[in-house]
């Protein structure tokens, strides 16, 4: 009996370490495969080089870094106000019954596969942009719109939780002072929930930067730093997914090195989100 208890405890301790182990393996394998490319190309040359043409051994990923950030910024412009608007409506203005129906419905967006978002973008948004704004249609704009919609569920559910965590007394105090509903939200609830909303935005940013399949289908994927919203663009994730199938040697290592850069960016974002959330609870 006692032995069995001890055995179970040891087993559970080992199982408890599974996610840390997987994380360690991911870091180990991606870095090990990617670092030789840094060594050969030069770290600085790799992240600031503006030309990517593996056939000529020109391996600079600045266009993709720029692409990822531009597309993500665009996604935030679309998804942030829309998502925050939904969260404020659900938490502050909708009746309990309405919120109980609307919230899971909006969260269902998270379940739609990214290839479906990409396909809708490809068949509807890209031709629309081509016809109404010009350019190839495959563009920063199309990517930003698709990603903006894809980050909605993260944005809504994390900032909804932040808004709900604001004690009702805050609102009641404001209303008792003669404020309107919106004034109470604007002056008290939103400032109080700010760290949580910020964390939502950072997490949404991480989702947008990490998204692959949807972006590939609508971005156009040319390796030039975009100068307009109608220019095609290639992100770090697309760079990996597009060329992984046939790359060999240094080219392949450079793709894993692209993964390392992506991993570092995402880690910085996640750590920032964690610090922001911890600041709230203190």
């Amino acid at each position: 009996m006692r032995n069995k208890e001890k055995l179970v405890e040891i087993l559970l301790t080992l199982i408890g370490l599974s996610s840390v182990t997987v994380l360690g393996l991911i870091i180990l394998f991606i870095f090990k495969e990617g670092l030789p490319a840094f060594a050969q190309v030069g770290l600085w040359q790799f992240v600031t080089g503006t030309r990517w043409s593996p056939g000529k051994n020109l391996l600079g990923i600045l266009p993709m870094i720029a692409g990822s950030f531009v597309v993500t910024a665009g996604a935030l412009v679309v998804g942030l106000p829309l998502g925050l608007g939904c969260a404020i409506y659900l938490s502050e203005f909708a009746t309990a019954k309405t919120a109980a129906i609307l919230k899971p419905t909006i969260e269902l967006l998270a379940g739609i596969p990214s290839v479906v978002f990409g396909f809708i973008g490809l068949t509807l948004m890209v031709p629309f942009i081509r016809n109404f704004f010009g350019g190839p249609g495959f563009s920063v704009l199309a990517s930003a719109l698709v990603l903006g919609i894809m980050i909605l569920p993260t944005m809504v559910s994390v900032s909804y939780d932040a808004l709900r965590a604001v004690p009702p007394v805050y609102r009641e105090g404001m209303l008792a002072l003669g404020s309107t509903d919106w004034q109470a939200v604007k002056m008290v609830v939103l400032p109080a929930a700010r760290p949580g909303i910020l964390a939502a935005a950072i997490l949404a940013m991480g989702r947008a930067i990490g998204e692959t399949m949807a972006v590939i289908m609508v971005a156009g994927n040319s390796t030039i730093i975009p100068t307009s919203f109608l220019d095609p663009v290639r992100t770090l994730t697309s760079n990996i997914a597009l060329e992984m199938g046939y790359a060999t040697g240094l080219h392949r290592q450079a793709l894993f090195a692209t993964g390392v850069v992506l991993f570092v960016i995402i880690s910085i974002l996640n750590l920032t989100a964690r610090v922001v959330v911890r600041g709230k609870t203190r």
Binding site: S18, L25, F93, A94, L109, G111, V115, L124, G210, N270
Partner: protein, 286 residues
């Protein structure tokens, strides 16, 4: 300043803001309904038993999607079967076997970090580790292990939340009756946390079904009907992606997408129904 005009103005601001907030909620729902509706309407004409139960021919230009359906189901269930003991075990360890300290912080850090990693990185990792290093090749097993790593944080988080809602009194009664820690877990804690745990696993499955980037480099893109978990397979989202992007057959792409959407909706709605039933029961108990 005139008090009357201020309040008049702020009431107007209230009305405008409320309208904008309503509009954003309406837009979000409208987008969802549109996407689901569009895929269903476009894909529905293609859906018939022949499409569901036959193998593709001419690279998917003709024929059906049976191998992809079988592959997706097997791969997804296998990944859930791998992630469930690890995820639920981690949650049990965190809630029942350790106090908050450095060790639990390390585990939490690992789980949270894993949750933030993009699926393409999981794909790269799965390719290097399972496909090449462990020599499993492009196979259902490689894909399932990769997806299991990816959904592990979801299972841990939802199981932990479910286990934390089990009242401490339950545990205390079990201990008072002479139950050991493990007996308490298996006969008291897990049964009352079960609906929440199941919901978490279903949500994780919902995520795994639609995953493309992590699967395409680990499970391969073979169109043949898999005979064992060591065979490569082309899952529904990968098949859809290849049909759509390479313009092989837009009709069959829509049909595949419709099947995928139906699967995702079924999975998510059933998770939602379980949550609701549990919540209702909890209210009754009060």
């Amino acid at each position: 300043m005139n008090a009357y005009t201020t309040s008049h103005r702020s009431k107007k601001e209230d009305r405008i803001m409320l309208a904008l907030l309503r509009l954003s909620a309406f837009l979000a729902v409208a987008i969802l309904v549109f996407i689901v509706g569009y895929i269903m309407v476009q894909g529905f004409p293609v859906l018939n038993l022949g499409f569901l139960l036959s193998s593709p021919t001419k690279m998917g230009r003709e024929g059906g999607i049976l191998p992809s359906i079988v592959g997706t189901v097997v791969l997804t269930l296998l990944s859930a079967a791998i992630a469930t003991p690890l995820g639920v075990g981690t949650a049990i360890f965190l809630t029942e076997y350790t106090r908050e300290g450095t060790f639990s912080k390390v585990i939490r850090f690992g789980t949270e970090s894993l949750a933030g990693i993009p699926s393409i990185i999981f794909g790269l990792f799965g390719f290097l580790f399972f496909v090449i290093r462990l020599n499993m090749g492009w196979s259902i097993l490689s894909g399932a292990l990769t997806l299991a790593s990816m959904i592990l944080p979801t299972v841990v988080r939802t199981s932990e939340e479910a286990i934390r809602t089990v009242p401490d009194v339950y545990r205390e009664i079990s201990f008072a009756l002479g139950g050991s820690r493990w007996q308490t877990v298996t006969s008291v804690v897990l049964p009352s946390a079960l609906p929440g745990i199941v919901t978490g696993i279903i949500l994780a499955i919902g995520r795994a079904v639609g995953e493309t980037a992590a699967v395409i480099f680990t499970a391969g893109s073979s169109l043949r009907l898999p005979q064992s978990i060591f065979d490569p397979v082309r899952t529904l989202p990968v098949h859809f992606y290849i049909l759509a992007r390479e313009g092989i057959s837009i009709e069959n792409a829509y049909g595949t997408a419709a099947v995928l959407m139906i699967a995702v909706l079924l999975v998510n709605v059933s998770a939602y129904l379980i949550i609701n039933r549990v919540a209702a029961r909890r209210l009754e108990r009060r």
